[in-house]
Amino acid sequence: MSAVNGPPSASSGPIQAVESMSNNLWGAVEQFRLLGLSPERILDAQEDVLELPPEERFTDSIAVLEEHFIDGAASDVAFELDDGARSLTKQLLPTFVDVFDEQIQTLQDNALNVLLATRDEDAEALVVAVYFEQLREAWQVLYEEALTPDGVDRVTVSTLLALNSRLMDVHSEPPEGIYADLAADAAYGEYYLAQVQDREAPSDPADLSSERIEQRVRVAGAVLAYKRLNISVNRGAELAEMSRDEFEAALLSEGVQPRQGPDANEPLWDDDENWF
């Protein structure tokens, strides 16, 4: 039995955040009609992307899109921009990424706030928050690469496609096992985005059991929750399913200082303060 009760019901759960993002993506796909592109073709491609094994989905799912559009109106999809296109990208992409980032962050906040309002959906909220974090990072990496002379890496685009394809799959009804799928995709996203950025990559999720992947995502989610919410260290440790010492070490490895006091501006000794 828990020592604390929350309000009768949380207004919005983690799956609602995923569904909202899915709806946003479906809305964006509908806009493709305005460009003369067939949304149906995009949706076929999305289904094919999800059928790929993760090692291929996160590195070369762009090939699926190319295959679907090879003789279509989007056959001019190119990832090597000329100077004019790069200039236009420089002007438009920040706005585009900002809009997406704001949408994703709002929904991520909704998922994280579930952790404060109830203690019944901790694992689900952490998975969703970490998934959105990877999605935000994928957009950011795409933006940065688009401005370089080498253009966008196929792995970056493929990672973004893989992450968005999963979200679109939630549209009508969340598929069974959705949280395990989201956790696995978040782990693959982290792995491949670290590789394209030449950062030290975490272990390859292909070598990990699903339990190990879920544990990794849980710890990443607990650290993210601690950064973004005013929760206690013990609550963070509880979310991460770690001891307090282990969780503090996880926080410090991410450059996050545990929130402890007293603060610098508070006197350690106050003669007026009556103690014993």
């Binding site: 039995m1 020592a3 404060l116 206690s232 200082q257 545990p258 402890q260 006091g261």
Partner: protein, 158 residues
């Protein structure tokens, strides 16, 4: 005066163990009861220190009530038990954790910083100067404080 009992959370308990000052926590006895939730001892403390039974001066209490809060997920279940024990017995929570302290203040529960508590115990002669000097480094590895507070603690003398 603080309100009795003094409810210590696991961070306060373990920081005193790591510093070698654990028995100095008996200093407020006999004026105060020094307590911790039984679950804190069993789940967060005892598994990580070589101590099978609590010392005589530390009372383990069970908290079985359910608290209501609009933000039940701000604190761990065992944090809530510390707060609940102090609330039901009109006591004082001793902690270094800001969110736990904020919840105590919001609910009108008396609370004090663990580090200020430690300093009162030291000045009250329950920790010798040499033990204080020897253990302070380990204490500061366990409790994350601003550099100026750390410096102030390093310069403390009786």
């Amino acid at each position: 005066m603080l309100r009795s009992p003094l409810v210590l959370d696991n961070n306060v308990l373990s920081s005193f163990v790591d510093s070698g000052w654990f028995d100095a926590l008996s200093f407020p006895i006999p004026t105060y009861d020094v307590v911790t939730p039984r679950a804190v001892w069993g789940r967060e403390f005892e598994p990580y220190v070589e101590m099978n039974t609590p010392p005589e001066w530390l009372e383990l209490r069970t908290f079985e009530e359910e608290l209501d809060s609009p933000t039940p997920g701000q604190l761990s279940d065992l944090d809530w038990q510390c707060l609940g024990l102090a609330e039901e017995s009109n006591g004082t929570v001793i902690t270094n954790d800001k969110p736990l302290r904020e919840q105590c203040l919001e609910r009108g529960v008396e609370t004090r910083w663990g580090t200020k508590f430690m300093l009162r115990i030291f000045k009250g002669c329950a920790i010798t100067q040499s033990d204080y000097d020897a253990g302070l480094g380990r204490y500061l590895e366990d409790v994350y404080l601003p550099a100026s507070v750390e410096d102030e603690l390093r310069s403390q003398e009786k």
